[in-house]
């Protein structure tokens, strides 16, 4: 693989794309500056995975045009099965095209905003200016965040005003069915004071191969006493080089929960970071992964405690088969002054074949005395005594292994709030571990 250091998009390309979407000048400037910075900025350095030779910059087309959907009946079957057809709060993006959007009228009247990111950049520029790549993820962090800011071509914006509690989940589906497409998607989710929302996103490829880039950033803001539950099932095709960065910022008494089913067939670098800024804030991250083929992946989950009495939980379970390899870095960081903080983590890797590789790497960085912290990590094969127990009830070895693996990945499956998505994740696991 050759590494193209020269970017395929010029400043002029970025300016024209920005103009085409009538973006405010400030946003155009942000893109142009990020593009200029991207050339010189280094790649991120995920611990224990060398990505220097990965190709994050080549892609056949920045945007492709795809069809929109007038009604949910027009959705391809694979998408239909994961969407609750009664679902009122729904955003569907077809490759780079916002294809369907709907929001409960009551919520709209209460001031909830659900829209594609380009519309948000145009019509909600004050909110976007306040939250977009300012606090959680910064454009100048490294080459990939800079590229993301410069080339952003899709995504979703969700704003929940003060005291509004959204009972039904809000769903975003990103359908990838054009192998030329690249996804520079940004999800910006803002839960204002004392609000509450559950957001579930699906990345789904219905073509077996991709030629583009997936450079995805999510930023979640839970203001004082707000609560955000963020579920995701990623099933992107082989061929993408996937960089996915999902971060959250929790203020006083706020809560952010993640349930991430990372089922890509592409090489993937994932960063999932929660900043517990406010006192009594809670960050709970659950991630499950299945790696197969020759996939290389790195999953870094961090919870960074600033707030007193903040609670951070990290759970990661990965299954590796064939020659797949994955690194699971779990980082609990307690800053000075975050007294009574609690940082817990558990990373477990199950290997299904002798050539698979998995590495669980728990890290605790503590700069305060009055805290509690703990970690557990294990890497191993399916326990023969567990198999013996299940088989002693008449269950075949194959079925016993299946039960153990599904059980191992259940922590995320069970907490996904949409039945169709839960089922989809179960089926993807089934397909990948078979």
């Amino acid at each position: 693989m050759t590494v193209e250091t020269k970017l395929t998009m010029t400043e002029q390309d970025v300016r024209s794309f920005s103009a085409l979407h009538s973006e405010p000048e400030a946003f155009t400037d942000l893109r142009v500056q990020a593009l200029a910075a991207a050339e010189a900025l280094p790649l991120p350095k995920p611990d224990k995975t060398k990505i220097i030779n990965w190709n994050f910059t080549d892609f056949p087309a920045h945007t492709v045009d795809s069809s929109t959907y007038e009604s949910l009946n027009e959705l391809p079957e694979q998408v239909k099965s994961i969407v609750d057809l009664e679902q009122k709060n729904l955003y569907i993006q077809h490759n780079n095209t916002p294809a369907y959007i709907s929001l409960d009228k009551n919520l709209e009247q209460q001031g909830v905003i659900l829209t594609d990111i380009q519309t948000a950049i145009r019509e909600h520029s004050d909110l976007v200016a306040k939250y977009f790549m300012t606090e959680a993820v910064k454009a100048e962090e490294h080459k990939l965040t800079a590229l993301h800011a410069a080339l952003l071509n899709g995504g979703v914006f969700l704003y929940v005003p003060k005291n509004v509690v959204i009972e039904k989940p809000v769903q975003a589906v990103f359908l990838h069915d054009n192998e030329e497409a690249s996804l520079f998607n940004h999800a910006l989710i803002v839960a204002d004071k004392s609000s509450s929302v559950t957001y579930v996103e699906n990345y789904i490829s219905t073509v077996p191969q991709a030629k583009g880039q997936a450079n995805i950033v999510s930023e979640v803001f839970a203001e004082d006493n707000a609560s955000v539950t963020y579920g995701a099932v990623d099933v992107l095709a082989e061929g993408f080089t996937t960089y996915v960065n999902r971060r959250g910022v929790a203020q006083r008494d706020a809560r952010i929960e993640w349930a991430l089913g990372m089922m890509n067939d592409s090489n993937t670098i994932s960063d999932n970071t929660t900043f517990l800024i406010g006192d009594n804030s809670v960050g709970d991250t659950k991630t499950v992964v299945v790696g197969r083929g020759t996939q290389k992946q790195n999953f870094t989950t961090q919870v960074i405690h600033w707030g007193k009495n903040s609670d951070g939980q990290i759970l990661k379970h990965g299954v590796m088969k064939d020659s797949a390899s994955s690194i699971f870095n779990g980082i609990g960081k307690i800053e000075h002054g975050a007294t009574k903080a609690n940082a817990e983590q558990e990373s477990r890797v199950l290997m299904l074949s002798p050539k698979a590789r998995g590495d669980a790497n728990p890290i605790l960085l503590i700069d305060e005395d009055d805290v509690t912290a703990g970690h557990a990590a294990s890497v191993g094969r399916v326990d023969p005594v567990q198999l013996y127990y299940l088989m002693s009830r008449g269950i075949t070895k194959q079925e016993a292994e299946r039960l153990v693996i599904h059980g191992f990945l259940a922590p995320v499956v069970n907490v996904l709030p949409i039945e169709g998505v839960k089922k989809q994740l179960t089926e993807v696991i089934e397909r990948k571990v078979r």
Partner: protein, 259 residues
């Protein structure tokens, strides 16, 4: 009628010989109890019958109605009609007790002829009631976080749902208080009948106050050294094991290791 016949069974664990020629024959409609002090090979016999991966049979045979049990995989033995209530059941995270039991029942049925969900739930509810188990235990993960007593009840629950031809109960009574012992015994007694045979392994005669065995065997030094009727259990309760040791000239009854 079915018959389980164990002949001259020799078993090793990690190169160490534990069973040194066990002979035993059990018919359906019979309840057998194996008693004996610690470390005489009782649990090894249970594990060897089921096919625990750590136990190696070096000599002898086990036959179920003439079929060679030792040639079968663990799951095949179960489907052929054997069941072992284990002393230390595994905990399986993420798999609910109910899902597991349905899988176990369906493993015995042809595809397309699975047990119906309603019928399964009705049966599970009624058996759990017999065993005085909380309804929520059906939806808890298999044995995860179960107390010792809950695990034992759960083993008996599985036996009652699966309805094996022969059940081996490995120290099902250890760690149970008297109330739990009564409900577990009630569960076992419900199974009694012409299509069910049972081998109860225990240290204590206490369990046999609630379940009357037809045959009682005593194991020492990796062999069955004495067999008799229910009166043998009473005598052991009253007089201990020393008289048997004296009778047989045994000084150390163990096989040299906890087993």
């Amino acid at each position: 009628m079915s018959t389980l016949v164990i002949k001259d069974l020799h078993v090793e664990i990690e190169g160490k010989q534990i069973l040194k020629g066990v002979n035993l024959s059990i018919n359906t409609s019979e309840i057998h109890a194996i008693m004996g002090p610690n470390g005489t090979g009782k649990s090894t016999l249970a594990s060897a019958i089921m096919g625990h991966p750590k136990y190696e049979v070096t000599q002898g045979t086990i036959e179920l109605d003439g079929e060679d049990v030792l040639a079968m995989e663990v799951d095949e033995r179960a489907r052929a009609g054997l069941f072992l209530a284990m002393q230390y059941p595994s905990e399986i995270s993420g798999v609910t007790n109910a899902d597991f039991m349905r899988s176990a029942m369906n493993a015995r049925r042809e595809e397309g002829n699975e047990v119906s969900l309603m019928k399964f739930i009705r049966e599970l509810d009624s058996k759990m009631e017999t065993l005085a188990m909380d309804q929520d235990m059906a939806q808890r993960y298999l044995n995860e976080g179960f107390s010792g007593g809950e695990k034992k009840r759960n083993e008996i629950l599985q036996m009652m749902m699966i309805k094996p031809t022969f059940a081996v109960l490995d120290e099902i009574d250890s760690g149970l208080d008297i109330d739990a012992l009564k409900v577990v015994s009630e569960g076992i007694n419900q199974m009694k009948g012409e299509n069910f045979g049972c081998l109860i392994i225990t240290h204590y005669q206490r369990l046999l106050n609630y379940i009357t065995p037809d045959h009682v065997h005593v194991m020492m030094q990796g062999r069955v050294v004495k067999s008799g009727g229910p009166e043998l259990a009473h005598k052991l309760e009253a007089e201990g094991y020393d008289w048997i040791k004296a009778e047989l000239g045994i000084e150390d009854e163990t096989v040299g290791q906890e087993a």
